[in-house]
Symmetry: C2
Subunit: 218 residues, 2 copies
């Protein structure tokens, strides 16, 4: 694989994948999407990291989709649930079909730039709550993307069998600046430490035995 379009949120998972690509000498274009998420801080973080690395970064504004896609991540008056990332109430954070929308736009850019693949950092820990992070979904979408155009693009999802603890270990080996990645769903200035994704982040550092440089509230 020589070139990819990476779905880049500025979070831990996609930043590990970014460093992984660079370590393998793969040319990377990064794509972030503003879909009206409350935690738009991730978009600033994505911009800063890619600027520092000298990597092409595009941010597409799909915030108008917030009008048709119901989710506590996008609806202003709805609270982000607190609790474990895999808990039932976290389903409120699902943005309907978000990943297929992101991946299809990334595939369109990959076709336009004659890239080999779309790189997607979904991992095993996402599976409980988010059906569109699962392997079966990724397999079906990979097939559709390959059939979508005369120029074949594949969906590369190297972490689909790993969990977040594995990614922290991998990031450590690759020298990922974890402190510069953003996970929290709540949109504050520092990580809240209480939402599902903050808890998952903390737990992964702890289980990996890696120092967590994140500043959490409280």
């Amino acid at each position: 694989m020589k070139s990819v379009v990476l779905i880049y949120s500025g979070g831990l998972d996609s930043t590990v994948l970014l460093y992984d690509c660079l370590a393998q000498g793969i040319k990377v274009r990064t794509l972030s999407i503003n879909y009206g998420q409350k935690h738009s801080k991730e978009l600033l973080v994505a911009h800063e990291t890619t600027t520092q690395l000298g990597i092409e970064h595009r941010c597409v504004d799909l915030s108008c989709l917030g009008k048709i896609l119901n989710s506590s991540l996008t609806i202003t008056h709805e609270e982000i649930p607190e609790g474990h990332y895999e808990a039932e109430n976290m389903k409120a954070t699902v943005v309907p079909n978000r990943n297929m929308i992101l991946l299809s736009i990334a595939a369109g850019w990959a076709i336009s730039t004659r890239s080999d693949a779309v790189a997607y950092g979904a991992h095993g820990g996402d599976h409980a709550i988010y059906p569109d992070c699962r392997e079966s979904f990724a397999d079906a979408l990979d097939k559709a993307i390959q059939l979508a155009d005369w120029h074949p693009v594949t969906l590369w999802r190297p972490y689909v069998h790993l969990n977040k603890t594995d990614l922290v270990k991998k990031g450590m080996e690759l020298g990922v600046p974890f402190a510069k990645t953003w996970s929290c769903y709540k949109g504050g200035h520092i990580h809240c430490g209480k939402c599902g994704t903050c808890r998952e982040r903390k737990e992964a550092f702890s289980l990996a035995g890696v120092y967590d440089p994140t500043t959490y509230a409280g």
Copy 2:
């Protein structure tokens, strides 16, 4: 099937499918996308038709995607090619991965509204130039959409084995006001009569033996 989100361009094919749904008593929500196409007249036509029928219609503005998706349909200085719809030079009109992007957004809205399916008017005549109108693509994407969320949505593509001539005949039976549908890629006030989609339209009426009420230039 009780309710669908219909990808609605205001063109002949999706208007036939709209009338087909209504004749079957299916509740329809219609979705149009502004992806920076020169022929934005189709969006006005879609708005007028759905308003007259009292059908919910949303138009999502993705014109910012024109920056990353190369196509003569969206690049201002590039000419729309003239000739037969199935000719090789028509490939310049392909918007990379457009259909997957539209379908994934429609699926997101279908999930949000607990609709049963996304309705998609792709037909057999689209296959030569547009890989993302083919049955194999629709089959793969149907599978991905069904796996994308806890609420299952299917991709309904009832015309994938028909051709445009069949659709003109079907539209005639359903009482579709053909004169109010828009096909031309060029973005003028009347159909140019020369671009691929105008030629395909003319040919379909002629082969179906149905009076063509379209005003063509020249």
